[in-house]
Symmetry: C2
Subunit: 562 residues, 2 copies
């Protein structure tokens, strides 16, 4: 009798469920639900007078997450015609740090009528960048006090992370902060909604909230130094116990069973992060192989038996990806978003017409034209910082640069330069890892860009000088969640005893690999040296024009509103 | 009895004739002819196997110039219903340095059947940039030998100029060079076609061929140091006498009278350059007032009683604009071309749709949206080097840069940044002039951009801190040519005794001026400082990435062709 597991992957714009066979990971059905309110970055979706959001804000509506369960899980069960009794478990993964304030019973503050028009009551999406001043202070105070944990995170905490976002709530909306009984990851919140029991997953606790197995969360003294009222944030607003990945968070509640069509009591796995859960689903359970999850942004995951401090990376967490290994994370804040911005804002009519006439996607057309260019032929070089820099510099204040444009520059040349820039960004991350004792020998990529774009993958292989393999699943994070669900269910229920066992049975790679082409590698050496020089010049303080421009922009906006 | 003059302005894509009243400059008729072969930059317009052109080439077909006379002059005569007997003269102005090789009787080598497929036999348009290596050698050898004239041209000769283009012919196509009895400006060639008599105008001789009233052309010894066979280029392939601006080159030949419908013997003025001839036509006959001719590129003209060496400017020529004054020229190689590139290559469908629905031009739409932005609000800064840098740096090897892009960057923000970049480029030119003793107190602008774009003019006024006035004519260079025709005809024939008199009678300004707005000026100070820093960093050798990229591009192209 076959057994099945459900994985639900919460992305930036939508949530997706898959139903897989526990024996071999075969995907039987998939369903997507696009969040009704999507990314909220201009105004709150409320009635009455508009509530406009400042620049750099990015919120979400927690109700959209529950709608994902309500729509996609019944859909995959029905599409695969699977008996809910044969589903051993359900697991979820989420963007992170995506966090929200809730009441003691888990009600989001944004659901409370009197707080609905208060932006700080809503979910702060991972790409909410308005807590930069708070992150700056978190870093400055940590450096000043010599906090040990700072070096685990490359010497710099991102504005995207948990305490930066929490501190922003406290300082900008103390009344919302006061009303919050819990501040927690959306990942843990949806598991709470499924099980009726609150858990705090090790992955986000470690990567986004500076928790470690050795030292726990940052100290009261440190938090008090940030703001007196922040001293007890861990004690009063956060669950203390941290749950291991692959553990059972609880059984499905009757209410959630009704939403999903699964049986009450079905094993629900401890929540995980989309990038991290993808690693074993991409067959990687050992050191030396990097997994890149390439979507709107890219996450780079690599493991090591050794604990190493790598400056400018997002951080490392013991057991943070797989038990028994230190899991290292890096990231690039705009990759697919980069190309999407370009297509939305900078591709002329004639190209869209050609794509339509030929019945192909505009990205496919641009990639086809870009593929005809030799390395260096565009004459362009870009810095891939349209959404700041998440790793190596860890600086949301930097911005995009394009250099080398002439009157003969064609759209596909700019497109290719943007692709190459993101590949250079990956290479500088890999080199930084290796320089600090974390080898990266080859790479497994997953996500839409990896699956659909041979040009992009070949450029990445040529730029990094490393073979790129592609995950066999087109829903690698969701598969990873389903694998964790099978582990949470356990051997006796038809699942697995460990994630490594689950990975061996359920994960696979596509045939073939993108191998570096030596002539291209050599040509990219020259461009990469120039990239690094611009990266350091604009990124390491010698010329702070990017920050000046962002400052002027904010000032002009404020002036325009006043 | 009214008297009339005809001015013919030869531009990059077309030629235009106007017919004006000599008494007050009133324009009675205008006619345009678009060159059939336009700018030839991909393949020669010849039958048989295609003759492809390398990068940076830009040629024209001399037959197109004669077609301008054949079509536009009869058209203005007919439209204005003017008796040819009342037309006192015809004058021409041309882009420069636009030059060609011809036989002793003035036949272009590109008309000879056996040379028609030879690119070097054709007209080299001003924006032909393939003679950069030759310009580099011209500069190096001049510096080495301590040639006096080098400092008159800001210390650097452009690849666009006469000897660079001539040397390129000699070295790349010695057989074409050998067949040329004359190498000359297209400006002088069309006057030769009109009169049957060869002249060499002072303006192009001075600005483009390093001639001066004091020293004549560069010496045999210098030319021999460039290439032994180049020693006698002046002696054997160039007319020695230089004709003063406003002089009569000759009378219209019977053949040219038949083309144009004018009477044989009608006064034909010595040829002139489009930018220079525009100065008196924009009412400027004194020092301290700059005239900017703003089209695809911009020329900046200012006069002084004093001789001053200004580094990085295009050059100065005694009597080169108006008799009795030193005429100084600077330039920006892409201005309208910049915005045109953007509209062609980087504006999304939705904007074109909106423009079409509202029945407005896409530039008008972008300017309307850009006008809603406060100074600094785009968060962008650009270096206006999409077509290299013609003044201050005098370097065709630099290229365009855009910095500050984010995922929220909108097309109108980039458009505005490009406009601002060209305004910063103008300011750095003005400041360089002033730092070397050539005051620039206010500015008269002419050309399509100046007439049609209040946003652009206001940005220029705000960035430069100087009032901008607009020429009263929408065909300022052609009016200038007609004024010179009236001077060539002379007082007795109903013309004028001097160009100053002609300017007082025939030239006027539009009412009103664009005055700098103090708040914008202050905001632009900050951006301008950043512009100068980037300008110097990328333009003065500290970071030569732009040259590296151009080198890689050329190499990749060559590789791709091989």
């Amino acid at each position: 009798m076959s057994k099945y597991a459900v994985g639900v992957d919460f992305g930036t714009e939508s949530g997706r469920a898959i139903l897989v066979d526990v024996a071999d990971g075969r995907q039987l059905a998939t369903a997507v639900y696009s969040y009704r309110n999507g990314v909220i970055d201009e105004r709150l979706p409320v009635d009455g007078a508009p509530v406009l959001l400042p620049l750099e804000w990015a919120l979400q509506d927690p109700d959209d997450y529950l709608d994902v369960f309500r729509t996609t899980v019944p859909e995959v069960l029905s599409a695969a015609a699977v008996d809910p009794r044969d589903v051993v478990g359900i697991g979820v993964d989420f963007t992170a740090c995506t966090m929200l304030p809730v009441t003691a019973d888990g009600t989001p503050l944004s659901s409370l009528p009197d707080l609905r028009r208060e932006p700080h009551a809503w979910v702060k999406l991972w790409k909410h960048h308005a807590a930069q001043p708070h992150a700056d202070r978190i870093n400055a105070v940590a450096r000043e006090r010599g906090e040990d944990w700072l070096d685990r995170y490359g010497g710099r905490i991102s504005s995207e992370w948990f305490f930066a976002k929490s501190l922003q709530i406290l300082e900008e909306a103390p009344e919302v902060y006061a009303r919050a009984d819990r501040l927690l990851e959306a990942a843990d919140w949806v598991v709470w909604r499924l099980t009726g029991e609150e858990t705090r997953n090790l992955c986000t606790a470690g990567y986004k909230a500076m928790w470690s197995r050795r030292d726990g969360f940052p100290s009261r003294e440190y938090l008090a130094a940030l703001h007196p009222d922040f001293a007890d944030v861990v004690d009063t607003k956060m669950l203390h116990e941290v749950a291991e990945l692959g553990d059972r968070a609880g059984g499905l509640s009757a209410e959630a069973a009704a939403w999903t069509g699964l049986l009450p009591g079905t094993a629900v796995a401890v929540a995980n992060v989309d990038a991290h859960v993808a690693v074993p689903a991409a067959t990687v359970t050992e050191p030396g192989r990097m997994v890149m999850i390439m979507g709107t942004s890219t996450c780079h995951m690599v493991m090591s038996r050794d604990e190493r401090e790598v400056p400018g990376m997002c951080g490392y967490v013991q057991d943070g990806i797989l038990p028994g290994l230190f899991g290292y994370e890096a990231g690039q804040s705009a990759v697919g978003d980069h190309f999407g911005w370009f297509v939305e804002n900078a591709v002329p009519v004639a190209y869209h017409d050609e794509a339509r006439e030929r019945g192909i996607d505009i990205h496919a057309l641009l990639q086809e034209k870009a593929a005809r260019l030799a390395v260096g032929e565009s004459g362009l070089l870009a810095l891939d910082w349209w959404n700041g820099n998440r790793s190596v510099l860890v600086d949301a204040g930097v911005s995009g640069l394009l250099i080398g444009a002439t009157l003969a520059t064609a759209p596909e040349e700019i497109y290719r330069a943007l692709v190459e820039a993101t590949a250079f960004g990956t290479r500088i991350i890999i080199e930084t890892f290796e320089a600090h004792g974390i080898p990266v020998e080859d790479i497994v990529a997953c996500g839409g860009l990896a699956e659909k774009s041979p040009l992009i993958m070949q450029i990445y292989a040529d730029v990094t000088g490393r073979p790129f393999r592609i995950s066999g699943s087109d829903q690698t994070p969701a598969l990873g969640s389903a694998m964790h669900a099978a582990v949470a269910a356990g051997l006796d229920a038809g699942g697995y005893g460990s994630i490594v066992d689950a990975s061996r049975a359920m994960a696979r790679l596509r045939d073939g690999a993108y191998e570096p082409i030596p002539a291209n590698q050599a040509a990219y050496e020259v461009l990469y040296r120039e990239y690094v020089r611009l990266h350091d010049y604009f990124g390491r303080g010698e010329n702070d024009v990017m920050r000046v421009l962002k400052g002027l922009r904010a000032q002009a906006r404020t002036g325009a509103e006043a």
